[in-house]
Structures are given as C-alpha cells and as structure tokens.
Amino acid sequence: MTAHEIAAQVRRQRLLYRTLTGVLAHLALSGVAVLFIVPFAWLIVTSLKPLNQVFTDPLVWLPDPVMWSNYQEALTSPAFPFMRLLGNTVIYAVASTAGTIVSAVVVSYAFARLEFRGRDLLFGITLATMMLPGIVTLIPTYLLFRWLGWIGTYLPLIVPLWFGSAFNIFLLRQFMMTIPVDLTDAARIDGASDFTILWAIMVPLIKPALLVVGLFQFMASWNDFFGPLIYLDEASEYPLVLGLYAFRTRFGVQWHLIMAASLVVTFPIIALFFAAQRYFIEGVTMSGLKGS
C-alpha cells in the first residue's frame, strides 16, 4: 500500500466511525425524544376524541371521528368562561410583566452605575433574599394584603412586582456592568441626568436582557396557580389556570373537554417560546450564573 492508499483508508474509516457515532447519537436522542413527545401527543389526541374513546381497551390511537367540536364545546361551556378567563390572565400577565421590568431597570441601574454609601451591604442583602424560600413570608404577606382589603383582587399578585424582585435586579445589574462606562460617562459630561442616561442609553443597550426578564415574568404569571388560588375568591376573577382547575372539579370525567381546555391554556406559552426561543434558553442559562 502506498502512503496515499493508507491515507485514503484512514479517511474512509474515520468517515465510517463518524457516520456510526452520528447514527447512534440520533438513535439515543430520538429514543428519548419519544418519551417527551408521547404525553404531548396524547394530550392532543385525547382532546380530539369523542368521550367514549378516551379510556378504551385496546387503546384508540387516532380519534374517529376527529372531534374539532370539542374545542368549541370546551371554550363555550359556562363552566369555563373562556373570554373572561383569558382577559383576566392577560391583564395579570401584562401588568406584572410591566412592573417587573420597570422596577428592575430602575433599581439595577443604581447598583450598576451609582456610587452611594451602603451599596455593597444592600447588594449583599439583595443576593441573600434570592435564596430565601417564599414560604416564610407567605402568611404575614397574605394578612397584610387582607388588612389592606385586597383579597379578591389582583393587587396582591401585581403590586409587589412593581417594587422589584431580587433575581431580576441581580440579572440586569450584571448585564449593565458589561456596558462600557465611557458611554454613560460621556453622556454625563454632556450634562445628561441619570434618568436620561438610563432611559436613552442603558435601556436600548440591555434590550435582550429586558426581553428575558419580561418573558419569564409573563410566563410565571400566566402559569401562576398558587397566588390566584389564595388571593382570589370569585370564579369570575380567575385566570385561565384556575379556571381550568375549576372546570375539572365540575366536570370530573369529561376528559376530552378538559384536555382541549388544557391545550388551549398551554398554547400561548408554547407559541411565545417558539417566537423567542433564543431568549428563553439564554434566560435559563443565565439563572445558572448564580451558581458559578
């Protein structure tokens, strides 16, 4: 064999090896993917079945007939006042997201750019509250809002978020620290106030981080179950997830309709994820920054 032939053989072997490991990788990846997809698929399939095909032996894999009308039935059921629930959820999610962003921007700017006495101590306290389990503040906070007469409204769920949350302050502060000081100093020399600097220079530069903070708060509020459960009492005030729970309590066995409603409640978040996937993944990854 000439050197040329040997080289060719090595190349072939390497190619074979790479193809083989590639195939194995895909086999493993897709095998696991099936485990994750099947429950989802079952949600969709069940939501399109007539009731008598939900629990059968042998299983019905594909509904016959396909009951698109399940969606209509679920969304127009008086037990699941969809438009009302949706409106409540959107108000909750938008108001809490706006508050989270505004307060985190303002507070994190002070930590990132202003020099004042007590900064390190206050920042230390902020970091410490990040690890604080919510459970220890739950009951006095509830009693505080009850004293204010806010039970049965969204105020306890929204108002605190307008005053800042430790993790978002931390996240935006880290982000602002990466913006060159020269940029803000130049504006300061030109006589810009801190509010102007924050609004006109900082905010446009940290937009990706704001999007991450906003997305996660929106999702957290949309999916929030515990908060609405303890603070709201009238069904007409419920957000979607609580409405979904109440729907199930009243129609315990109508699984086809419950699955249709579940999918509708989940869908906007999944759509949002696909629209902003990069920011979602960055956001989760950034939350890991705390650890390293």
Partner: protein, 319 residues
C-alpha cells in the same frame, strides 16, 4: 472666628457643596432604590419578623392573635398526626425526586452535548414540557396514569409488567407525581447543565483521550468534576423547589378536600400549610408550620453548602 484665615480652612461656602455632593449622590441613588427598599421592608423583613410572632400565637383570622407561647410547636410535634404524615411524604418526595431529577437532567444535557444535526430540535422537545402550567400538566398525567386504562399502564402491560395503581394507590401515588415531575420539571436544570458542559475545555477531554481514557472514564474523571459547581447549584435549587411542591399534589390529590390522595399519601408539607392557613384559617399554626419548614430548609441548604468543600471543584480560570 476672625482668626481663621481662608488659607487655614476653606471657606464654608466652598465646603458645603462638597459635602452635599456626596449627600446628593446618596439621595439620588436612594431615589432609584426606593421601590426596592420598600419591597425589602414590606414584603421581606416585616413578614419574616411577623411570622416569628404569629407562630407563637393562636390566630384564627377573625380574632386578633392571642399569645400562646410554643403551644403551636407542641401541637405540631405531638398532637397532629397529619404533621408527621406530611413530613414523611415531603421527605420521600424530596429524597427520591431530587437525585433522580439531577441524574435525568444531566443525562439529557449529555445527550444534547453531542455533535449531531438538528440538535436544536431535540433540545426544544426536551424543554417543552417545562413550559406547561402545572394544572394542565397534572391533568394530563391524571389521564396518562389512569390505573385501569391509562397509557402508562397499558404500556407497562404490553412489555409484560403489572399495571400499577399510581395516583389511586397509597403506595404508588408519590412515584406517580415524581414520574410526572421528571417530565415537567427537568428542563431548566438540563439547560443549565448544558451550558456548564459547553464550558468544559475540550483540551482536557482530548488530553484524557490521548492518555487512553474511554468515554465513561472521561465523563467520570474529567467532565463531572468540572461540572460540580453546576451540580451544586441545581442540587440546592431542586431541594428548595421540592420541599415546597404544591401544584401537582393539590391537583392530583383533589385539592386536599378530604384526603390528599389515597390515605393522605399526597399530603405534602405545603398542602398542610395551605389547609391550615386558607381552609381552617389557623394563621398562627400555619405560621409555625412554615417557620419549621424554613428552618429545616435553611439547615439542609447550609449542610449542602458545608459539604461542598469536599466535592465541588472550582477550577482556576472558571467563573
């Protein structure tokens, strides 16, 4: 007064602005910080202090709190059988689901750390269940885990295993919600692990490969040691989350109306607090329950932090 010359001492008129400059800076900064300071006082400091006080009172919401000393704690430890049930359930859930979720999340991250086409699609698929609202995912799993005709049991039967009672059996209800939590709750940890894996320098792995280390040895002796800070972070986060698990237990356990799951097997600690606070309106007793959980959680976290010296490696040059 007249003896002080301008040379000895700067005139008052020039000193005042210097002083007030620092003061002005402070004031301006605290203006920016005002919302957060208010939040720290009203939504963190006050509730923490108040919960100590309430835990020492009998406080049935309609009447003002009445001081009863440590009675709540005595009742809890000696006279509330549901307390120990909830402790046992929560401990079971935590000690099974935390290690499992770490292993699963790490396994998924390792799978996703391969060079393969379309890896982004797999990442999306693995992460997707984490987006579902807990009510929706729990309702879905009630269908999947139906003891008679659920997909999971039919699958078990198809491969020759016995059907399990899942959420309608006292023995299998916790494994049921743990299985569910592996599907819904590992996405974030997985992504954090994946980011950690991207930080493992390939030069070290190549060096190990040249030294003849096989795949398992490289994982065991290079990748995992470098990943210990991430494992440490995910471990603490998932301990805190699993102690406070509520949604799945509430939805699957029928809202804790009578029993939380068969024989109260889904009565998690948070559910016990919820019942006492918002069903029975025993705010004093509920505060005491919350305080004990808080103390245990802090102690456990500190123990993990303390232990980290011996197993978490911070490499030079890493963040």
């Amino acid at each position: 007064m007249a003896s002080i010359t301008p040379a000895d001492q700067p005139p008052v008129a020039r000193r005042a602005p210097r002083l007030s400059k620092q003061l002005r800076r402070d004031l301006q900064a605290y203006l920016f910080l005002a919302p957060w300071l208010f939040s720290l006082l009203a939504f963190t400091a006050y509730p923490m202090i108040a919960s100590f006080y309430f835990s020492l009172t009998k406080y049935s919401i309609l009447n003002p709190p009445r001081w009863i000393g440590v009675d709540n704690f005595v009742t809890m430890f000696t006279n509330d059988p549901l307390y120990w049930k909830a402790v046992a359930n929560t401990a079971y859930y935590t000690f099974v689901s935390v290690p499992l979720s770490i292993v699963v999340a790490l396994g998924l991250a390792l799978l996703l750390n391969q060079r393969a086409r379309g890896i982004g699609i797999y990442r999306t698929i693995y992460y997707l269940p984490s987006l579902m609202p807990v009510v929706a995912s729990t309702l879905l799993w009630l269908v999947l885990l139906d003891p008679r005709l659920g997909l999971v049991n039919i699958g078990l039967q198809a491969i020759g295993l016995p059907k399990l009672g899942w959420l309608s059996s006292a023995d299998w209800s916790k494994p049921g919600i743990i299985l569910m939590s592996l599907w819904t709750g590992t996405g974030s940890a997985m992504l954090i692990f994946l980011a950690g894996l991207k930080d493992v320098p390939s030069s070290l792995l190549e060096a190990a490969m040249i030294d003849g280390a096989n795949g398992w040895q490289r994982l065991r002796h290079v990748t995992i040691p470098l990943l210990t800070p991430t494992i440490f972070f995910n471990l603490i986060m998932s301990i805190i989350a699993s102690f406070q698990v509520f949604g799945p237990a509430y939805v699957a356990g029928d809202g804790g109306a009578r029993q939380a799951g068969p024989l109260n097997s889904l009565l998690m600690y948070m559910l016990l607090i919820y019942r006492n606070a918002f069903r029975f309106f025993e705010m004093g007793y509920a505060s005491a329950l919350a305080l004990v959980m808080f103390i245990v959680l802090v102690a456990l976290t500190l123990a993990v932090v303390r232990s980290s010296d011996s197993w978490v490696h911070y490499e030079v040059g890493r963040r």
